[in-house]
């Protein structure tokens, strides 16, 4: 019990943050449905067919909507399915953070020294995460119910409960799988390995909706069992067997993780590659890379930058390859054109690519900025910042170098993905304006800079809370642009969103005012973070 309470205490900010995100997400999507779906059956049917057509084009990534003309179907598609992905990411972070992060910090060693068995520790952590998931899923249900109250509608309580159970089951399943995978490699590879396995399982299921050859394999993916139920829409189903399989996967993977944990040494991988014997070296090698500001930061993150650049380039190619199909279907649905008029206007292909690729790229660049801020916060709490400041560098220089390193990294990733986009479009016979591809790709850099500047300020103010607060800020910023026009928010409020300020540069070029605002927000964040850094105590 003590181990469960300790795990809950260690993860309390995650539980609070994801619960808030879940509640806001389902509430806002429910209310948004009443704002945009219309009130008459005919209006809702037209709206539903538009959403169904849109959903069918991203079926390779998300499950198709069921009855999106109803509030239950729409919120399940727009609110709960993305939450399942979000909970899977939370599970990945929570499991690898426990399996290897807490181990490196000595928390696991101390707990085991207190007489807790390894199996009991795994069970306690999984149990605590299940409690956290249940709280967040309940928050999502509360958000839905509050939104339904706004619209004076209702859905069966049992259906809401079943949808919440699905969220808990998929989250727990992903947690246990991540926990198992994290036991196998070295600590520094654990998160990447578990993330790779989860992504592969997700894509196996989602791509099997498009590629028949994968259909026979999809039962290996837990996401397949999540997809088997659609409890919220009228006449929806809850597949008890599929939900039970998710729970069984979680129990089995946690048990295997416990066995693997028993078999390996603390701090070591389960599978240890024999190290070649080598003579101890007392020499300093490769010093030139480390001598120059920015270059040393980029060099240190070289592997991560390569993975980001390669991953985003592949994604750009995939989305380009889907563009012709998307456009063909869009043009066959006249009632969808008004819905997409903001994006399409007169240039269909750049419009659609701008909508698909650059929307995804914005989310990923926001995530890139958050990952850098997480690193800055960790430097503070693990004593590395104190060591850096014991060298003859000013605090302002540290802040500026961090931001400059982010800019350099973002430029490299934007350049690689922009090149991939342009080349893949050319191969597909889609003529893009080269100047606009360059401009739009470059625009991703000041976009990321806004989040990095806000994160820099948060990291200087309170490093322990920085990532959570920045994540909430990014989420609010995204909701601002997605729902701002639906809720008719004042223009200046919508302009606070970096997603809104990014605009449609592939279609219309860079908006000078928006770029200036992005840079102004970044500069304001940079200046205030320098001030905050100079005034604060480090290492206290």
């Amino acid at each position: 019990m003590t181990s469960v309470l300790l795990a809950l205490r260690l993860g309390r900010w995650g539980i609070a943050g994801f619960s808030l995100a879940a509640a806001f997400s389902t509430f806002l999507q429910t209310v948004a449905f009443y704002q945009i779906a219309g009130h008459s059956p005919a209006q809702r049917a037209a709206f539903g067919s538009s959403i169904a057509a849109l959903g069918s084009q991203v079926v390779a990534l998300l499950p198709p909507p069921v009855r999106p003309d109803t509030v239950g179907g729409y919120v399940e598609f727009r609110g709960f399915h993305p939450l399942a992905i979000l909970f899977a990411i939370w599970a990945l972070a929570g499991a690898t953070g426990f399996a290897r992060g807490d181990e490196e910090r000595g928390i696991v060693e101390s707990t085991l020294a207190a007489g807790v068995s390894r199996g009991a520790l795994i069970a306690a952590r999984a149990g605590a995460f299940a409690i956290g998931l249940a709280v967040a899923a309940a928050a999502a249900a509360v958000g839905l119910l509050a939104g339904l109250a706004y619209g004076h509608e209702s859905v069966p309580a049992l259906a809401v409960f079943e949808e919440s159970v699905l969220l808990v089951a998929i989250g727990l399943s992903c947690y246990a799988i991540s926990l198992l995978v994290a036991q196998v490699p070295a600590a520094r590879m654990a998160t990447a390995a578990a993330g790779f396995v989860l992504l592969a399982l997700y894509l196996l299921n989602s791509l099997s909706r498009v590629f028949e050859s994968l259909a026979s394999w999809r039962s290996l993916s837990p996401f397949h069992y999540y997809d088997a139920s659609d409890p919220l829409p009228p006449g929806g189903t809850f597949d008890v067997r599929a939900a039970s399989v998710l729970i069984a996967v979680a129990v089995l993977a946690a048990a295997l993780a416990a066995i693997a944990f028993e078999l390996r040494d603390l701090g070591s991988p389960l599978v240890r590659i024999p190290a070649r014997s080598q003579v101890a070296s007392h020499e300093v090698r490769g010093a030139a890379w480390w001598r120059y500001p920015i270059l040393r930061g980029v060099y240190e993150r070289r592997a991560a930058i390569l993975i980001w650049a390669a991953g985003m380039s592949v994604l750009a190619v995939v989305l380009v390859s889907l563009t012709r199909t998307i456009v063909r279907v869009l043009l066959s649905l006249p009632n969808l054109l008004p819905y997409l008029s903001n994006f399409v206007r007169q240039q269909v292909y750049p419009g659609v690519l701008g909508f698909t690729w650059f929307n995804v790229a914005q989310l990923l660049f926001a995530a890139l900025a958050v990952s850098y801020v997480a690193r800055w916060s960790a430097e503070d709490t693990d004593g590395r910042l104190e060591m850096i400041l014991s060298q003859p560098v000013s605090r302002a220089a540290v802040v500026v170098e961090r931001m400059a390193t982010l800019i350099a990294s973002a430029l490299l990733i934007a350049a690689a993905s922009g090149l991939a986009l342009y080349y893949a479009s050319h191969v597909q016979g889609i003529d893009l304006n080269a100047g606009r591809v360059v401009a739009a790709s470059l625009m991703l850099v000041p976009f990321a800079l806004v989040f990095a500047a806000a994160g820099s300020l948060l990291a200087a103010w309170n490093p322990r809370a920085a990532v959570g607060v920045l994540g909430a800020f990014a989420f609010a910023s995204y909701l601002d642009t997605e729902l701002g026009s639906i809720y008719k928010l004042p223009l200046w409020v919508q302009d606070l969103s970096a997603f809104k300020l990014f605009g449609t540069p592939l279609l219309t070029g860079i908006d000078g005012r928006n770029l200036a605002l992005l840079l102004l927000l970044s500069l304001a964040g940079l200046a205030t973070s320098i001030l905050a850094m100079q005034r604060r105590d480090v290492g206290a």
């Binding site: 600590a187 300093v284 040393r296 060591m387 850096i388 014991s390 060298q391 003859p392 206290a540």
Partner: protein
């Protein structure tokens, strides 16, 4: 060869860091002469690390001032750190970076690494610089911290419990290194829990209790052992024959 230095390497005047509820450091007046090895003794939570972090400009004083070689520790922090080698009480975490990369990284911030000095230090403590930081044992992490503090031949070394985690052989090697750098003209400010260590290497000692400096003693001229002096301040007895 001895280096020309100002008479006072460290000078603080009513230096205070008040964390509230009686915690912190209060009214510290301290002078450490150049080319001196000064030991800073006190139990856990007495204010040793707070003093060191104030000197390093990591935390801002509530009141008072601190100077290193005549330079203000907060306003002229960058200049101060050109002259200082620092070993923190908790070795920072460098994850999967290799020892040589950490040396190059922090050395790069000083304009480059003196490879010969690093090699000598690494050989002396038998530290494998090719290994990743997370693979180092606690003792090896401490050895790396020693290399980082000494590698640029600083004029002043500020060391927070420097032998923590070192085995006895490496402790002896460290004491020898301290004597060498002092003979070369460097000043050392060393905090420690280990009385024998301070007695072994220090010229003077300051004793801090509940955030206040209660005594500064010249060790060589004292009639008492350091243990007697120290215990007298933590068992309510008054020490005899000490100069403050």
């Amino acid at each position: 060869m001895l280096r020309a230095m100002p008479a006072s390497a460290i000078r603080t005047s009513r230096l205070t860091k008040d964390y509230g509820v009686g915690r912190g450091l209060f009214d510290l007046d301290l002078q450490v002469a150049a080319q001196e090895v000064f030991g800073y003794l006190g139990p856990n939570g007495s204010g040793k690390t707070t003093t060191i972090r104030l000197l390093m400009g990591m935390i801002r004083p509530t009141t008072g001032s601190a100077y290193i070689f005549g330079l203000d520790c907060m306003r002229e922090a960058v200049e101060v750190k050109r002259k200082v080698g620092y070993l923190p009480g908790d070795v920072p975490q460098f994850g999967s970076l290799r020892g040589s990369e950490i040396v190059a990284y922090l050395g790069g911030m000083r304009g480059g690494v003196d490879r010969a000095t690093v090699r000598k230090l690494a050989e002396r403590f038998d530290l494998d610089l090719d290994r990743r930081f997370r693979e180092y044992s606690r003792g090896n992490k401490q050895k790396l911290a020693i290399v980082l503090a000494f590698m640029h031949k600083p004029d002043l070394l500020i060391l927070d419990e420097p032998t923590s985690g070192l085995d006895p052989l490496n402790q002896q090697e460290f004491y020898a290194l301290l004597r060498e750098v002092r003979d070369d003209g460097a000043t050392v400010f060393l905090s420690s829990h280990v009385l024998s260590e301070v007695e072994h290497v220090c010229d003077r000692v300051g004793i801090v209790r509940d955030g206040r400096l209660v005594r500064v003693a010249q060790l060589a001229s004292s009639e008492q052992s350091l243990e007697e002096i120290f215990l007298s301040y933590f068992s309510g007895r008054t020490p005899r024959g000490l100069t403050s």
